[in-house]
């Protein structure tokens, strides 16, 4: 950038580049220890963290590029693309490729609480499909996988069609989409409050207040097996409907009005138009949205973790995996569950790569 301002000898330039690289390395090392030791006031740490985190990555690229610029022209042109691509490749290698392979490997072994791997075999997978607790987790995941996409997409589609005809469409869509901004943890607290059963006194949870007002007894919603699964599922439906609605809304707007007019002239009512004109027209979008929500739900963890920690038969695979990996230290069993989730998404992965090869 400023290279052209003052002509410098080649030797000086090379020296500057190397010194810059060394200085950068020292700064990184120092700040890493500084942030870990954390004896300084918090705002100093905060400032150092931000500068190192945001500035560091740029310094890294610029320094590497500077070093490469010193190479002879031909070597430079060959090496330069790798300055741009190597960090991304290394990150993918260390953070996704290596751990995924390692997890698959681990899933074939037993571990005695964090010890060395032993007994190579399929036992963890056999267990995943025979152990009663795990079967319940699989059953619950199935419930999630069926009901979250079903309701989120159905409600989303109906809302998308309805709001298309009102004058305050923008605001209605905003409010339904808003839960997408809320974390699963935040949403769980919101719904815990709704499902809350006060041990004595007035019912301050919305649902139990309604039940009591109708003359019933307060209900412990989250302990009501097996329905408690559905009360957790409702949270995810609440969160994901806005997503489905926004995508389906733009698809619904793409339905040619001539098509709807023609159906109307043929005497079709609103319901027939909905089922026989709109749904077939947006079916590809419905499939996309459903797939996306299915992938999300497959990994559902936070909601169960916060609401019940999997108690009262609400366990799901991702939460069980967390428990086995990080609480009980039964790595092999946890890894097998992670691999099961992985296998479940591979069709989508293969589809994506295939589409890429066609293009």
């Amino acid at each position: 950038m400023s290279d052209a301002v003052i002509p410098k000898s080649r030797g000086t330039q090379v020296a500057i580049s190397i010194v810059a690289a060394v200085v950068l390395f020292v700064i990184f090392a120092w700040s890493f220890n500084f942030l870990r030791a954390a004896a300084a006031p918090r705002f100093v740490i905060a400032l150092v963290a931000l500068v190192v985190g945001v500035g560091g990555i740029w310094a890294l690229f610029l320094t590497a590029d500077r070093l490469v610029s010193q190479l002879p022209a031909r070597a430079r042109d060959i090496v330069r693309p790798y300055v741009f691509i190597t960090p991304a490749f290394l990150i993918l290698l260390v953070y996704i490729i290596y751990p995924t392979i390692r997890t698959i490997y681990i899933s074939f072994f037993d571990f005695q609480r964090g010890g060395t791997p032993q007994n190579f075999g399929l036992q963890n997978y056999v267990r995943a499909f025979t152990n009663p607790a795990l079967l319940i987790a699989l059953r619950n995941n199935l419930l999630w996988l069926i009901f979250v996409p079903l309701f989120a997409v159905s409600i989303g589609l109906v809302v998308a069609v309805l709001v298309d005809r009102i004058s305050w469409e923008k605001y209605a869509k905003s409010l339904i989409f808003l839960p997408m901004a809320i974390s699963f943890v935040g949403a769980s607290v919101i719904w815990r409050f709704i499902y809350y059963r006060a041990p004595f006194g007035a019912q301050i949870g919305l649902l139990n207040a309604i039940v009591v007002n109708l003359g019933g007894d307060p209900v412990g919603w989250l302990r009501m097996e097996p329905w408690n699964n559905f009360f957790l599922i409702i949270i995810m439906i609440w969160l994901q409907t806005g997503f489905a609605m926004v995508i389906l809304s733009s698809a619904v707007k793409g339905v040619p009005s001539s098509l709807i007019e023609a159906a109307r002239i043929d005497g079709a009512g609103e319901f027939r138009i909905f089922f026989q004109v709109i749904i077939p027209f947006v079916s590809a979008t419905i499939l996309t949205v459903t797939t996306t929500i299915v992938i999300l739900v497959l990994k559902v963890f936070d909601v169960v973790f916060v609401m019940t920690s999997g108690r009262f038969n609400t366990e799901v695979v991702a939460n069980m995996m967390y428990n086995q990996m990080f609480i009980q230290g039964t790595y092999g069993r946890g890894a097998a569950l992670a691999v099961i989730i992985f296998i479940a998404v591979t069709p989508v992965m293969i589809h994506n790569i295939r589409k890429l090869n066609e293009a």
């Binding site: 985190g53 590029d65 693309p81 409010l175």
Partner: protein
């Protein structure tokens, strides 16, 4: 447009009016159902602990002056005593670099994939697309052990890099989609001046790609801000490093009946996302749509 105008000019039949009313009522009902949960939390967070525990939040809505007992103390106590203020700062420290780093690395990679020739280009591309939907669950255990061995566990750097890893395939894919569509003429025009690829990238490609970068930035920012699992594993729950989500989930465990803490705490975790939501709504929706395929 033409349809609505024609409709307005004509006198509406009673049937049409009834249909219009029914339509609006239906949408209002859905909107109200969708909004009530958040609204109840918000209202409760400003009520005194005593009021929260003795009457439902709706009574405060209907009788705001006799049943309200409004207060800000909940927020003050959750920010200080319950360490949510600290967690808020930690969340910012985690989220900002965990958004900037993957975007930077992805943008460089996307530029190379779009406009540079090199060995392994095709392979890199397949990796990016293939790894996009790989669930981060399969990475957790080996990385956790690697982090424990290298001392990265519980450090900011560790969690920045973890989020970078999990967000990178999507970021690269989205930015590639945009950067590769920049007109060739524009890129070549910059070449005559004898610029290096780096200057072209910094002064031409990045400014042109702002819309794509903004959409992904919003998605990644919210994803990291709202994440619980990655923070739980790589940063932990000790109060000096805990982020808002881990802190809130700890509070659910330790103070599960103290609704004045939970409501105000939950709302604090939501403030940042809500600011982004209302402030940058167009980019927000775009970002959430673009990012929905993340693994």
């Amino acid at each position: 447009m033409a349809d609505t105008l024609a409709l307005q000019r004509r006198k509406k039949t009673p049937e049409e009016i009834a249909r219009r009313v029914a339509l609006n009522v239906a949408v209002i009902t859905i909107v109200v159902i969708w909004t009530i949960p958040t609204f109840g939390l918000l209202v409760s967070s400003f009520r005194t602990p005593q009021a929260i525990n003795t009457t439902g939040w709706w009574t405060a809505v209907f009788q705001p002056f006799s049943q309200g007992f409004w207060t800000l103390d909940n927020y003050i106590s959750v920010l200080t005593e319950d360490q949510m203020g600290n967690a808020f700062l930690n969340s910012l420290l985690v989220t900002i670099p965990a958004t900037v780093i993957p975007i930077t690395i992805a943008a460089f990679a996307a530029y190379a994939l779009s406009w540079m020739e090199f060995l392994g280009r095709r392979l890199m591309f397949i990796l990016v697309v293939g790894l996009m939907v790989v669930p981060l669950q399969t990475s957790l255990l080996p990385l956790f052990r690697l982090y424990n061995d290298t001392g990265l566990a519980g450090t900011y750097l560790g969690i920045w890099l973890a989020h970078t890893g999990f967000g990178l395939p999507l970021a690269t894919y989205l930015l590639y989609g945009y950067i590769s569509q920049i007109p060739k003429d524009l890129i070549e025009a910059a070449e005559v001046d004898g610029t290096t690829p780096m200057t072209k990238f910094v002064y031409l490609v990045l400014p042109v790609s702002v819309p794509a970068i903004a959409s992904f930035a919003i998605f990644q920012f919210l994803w990291v801000w709202n994440d619980l699992l990655v923070a739980l594993i790589f940063l932990g729950t000790s109060v000096d490093v805990a982020v808002v989500t881990t802190r809130l989930s700890e509070l659910v465990g330790s103070r599960g009946q103290a609704w004045y803490v939970l409501t105000s705490g939950a709302f604090l975790t939501m403030i940042m996302p809500l600011i982004v939501f209302f402030g940058l709504q167009r980019y927000f929706v775009r970002g959430m749509m673009a990012g929905s395929v993340k693994g």
